[in-house]
Symmetry: C2
Subunit: 291 residues, 2 copies
């Protein structure tokens, strides 16, 4: 039996199970203060740990995170807009209560791991999971292993060319008009001074939005060369029409330079939705728990 | 004894040796027609193979290349501006003459491998080698292994924001104003309608050039999260002053978002010259020959 946590800015999902087919219990805990939230998580896992002892716990966590296993601060949240959580080390807190191995990675790396193991990345060795929600983030599997490197990718903060007729200045507090500042859910809300969910599917805004996302995807292809790109996050919910728009723009931007069948012919299988739907992250955390 | 080849657009470097400290012979062959050049390479290695049989040959080759080991076309040059070489499979040609394992990777992955094994990447597991010469290309080591993925990275072709006061339209035949189209050696020549080597170190042009390169490096950091970035290629030759300019602009662009000591404090050791100088590629090919 294993424990899994998907730690997000608004809620924590906690799960106990053996595999995606054998899940004992899954709960949602609102993200409040670190002490309150961590205490609720601990209670949930302690209850199960008394029944059957947990062999491991995996955590997919919002970031930025310290992911250097050799560092004394391994697992610690670095700077985050959720100020109360800055400096919190979820892994260390849980190690006080549970005598099993506890693995941690970013939420997006966890989603990439979930899709790699049980979803749209099965059989491949190099995939990217890109989420476009409140923010934009990317996780990656390279040669079958999660990509961390110096810290971990921060794909939302790459710079892309702004469309010449776009007057919106961008809303990233660090970089203003980076990809996240131009095209995330929060950027959309700021741009229209309202709620992005209200934008009609026919609105020409989606031409601009998919152009920015396609530029981001092209940069990911040029730098990371993934075998498949999985797009998740709130902006795509009930908006399947965005996929053909993005795929076409990626092809136009690349202009047949990368002559791989996967991109030139089979792009419908190259840029895809998560096969695990909204479960990529929590199931990836379960895979992380296996160690 | 091993053989190594650095295959470039103007010349091939061929080497026979055991290690960087024990090199038997190194020659340069001009890149002419495939049949002529390959015949000269073959003669060079045959001569040595008769003395001591070669245990392996490593090739770092210009691209794009097919690097799928499972493909019947593994090692084949895909589209290349050097049209006579399109479709040539250097590895397969050499296998007709030599009964040893022959490894191949891109020229920039070979350079990354060389620096990883014997140069500025020693002790690290995630590095990028970026060359800014006639074109712009990047190779990478991730978790200690070369990054290939779907094909291999084509870092020069990422898109970056153009400076608002820059009227140059870019010279990439595929993407016009991608990084390579704006900032490569050939883009510089086109921009000034002359030879980039003549540009004075004091020229304000270098502010623009280093801004574009810094944007490319920031995108590499956001997407690939390397532990070190090694900058090589003709544009940096006798131009050490570009390094502090690039480092400063990378810090300004990232704006302390990635709070890692390596970038915020120790950027002089984060963005560096190749420790192997102009030998990164050919020594990386030698490392490839070890298999």
């Amino acid at each position: 039996m294993y424990g899994a946590i998907e730690a997000g800015g608004t809620k924590f999902i906690c799960l106990v199970g053996e595999s995606p087919q054998n899940i004992i219990e899954e709960i949602r805990i609102p993200t409040t203060s670190p002490s309150e939230t961590i205490s609720q998580i601990t209670q949930f896992f302690q209850k199960h740990n008394q029944a059957t002892s947990l062999n491991g716990i995996g955590i997919g966590c919002f970031g930025p995170l310290n992911l250097r296993e050799s560092s004394p601060d391994f697992g610690k949240l670095i700077s985050t807009p959720k100020l109360a959580w800055e400096g919190v080390n979820l892994r260390k807190e849980l190690l006080k209560h549970f005598n099993c191995s506890i693995s941690i990675d970013t939420d997006v790396n966890a989603a990439a791991i979930g899709e790699y193991k049980w979803g749209a990345g099965q059989g491949l060795q190099n995939i990217v999971y890109l989420t476009v929600g409140t923010g934009i983030g990317g996780g990656a599997i390279v040669n079958g292993r999660p990509l961390r490197g110096l810290m971990h990718p921060e794909m939302g903060h790459m710079f892309i060319p702004r469309s010449p007729d776009d007057a919106f200045e961008g809303n990233c507090p660090f970089h203003q008009a980076c990809l996240e500042g131009l095209a995330s859910g929060s950027a959309i809300n700021r741009r229209i001074q309202g709620e992005g969910v209200s934008i009609s599917d026919k609105d020409s805004f989606w031409e601009l939005e998919t152009q920015y996302l396609a530029l981001g995807i092209v940069n990911i292809i040029c730098i990371l060369s993934p075998e498949r790109i999985i797009l998740g996050g709130g902006v795509f919910e009930k908006r399947d029409f965005l996929f053909p728009m993005i795929r076409k723009k990626v092809q136009v931007l690349l202009n047949s330079y990368i002559q791989m069948k996967e991109i030139v012919e089979d792009i419908n299988q190259y840029i895809v939705s998560p096969a695990l739907g909204s479960q990529s992250g929590i199931l990836g955390a379960l895979a992380l728990a296996y160690g």
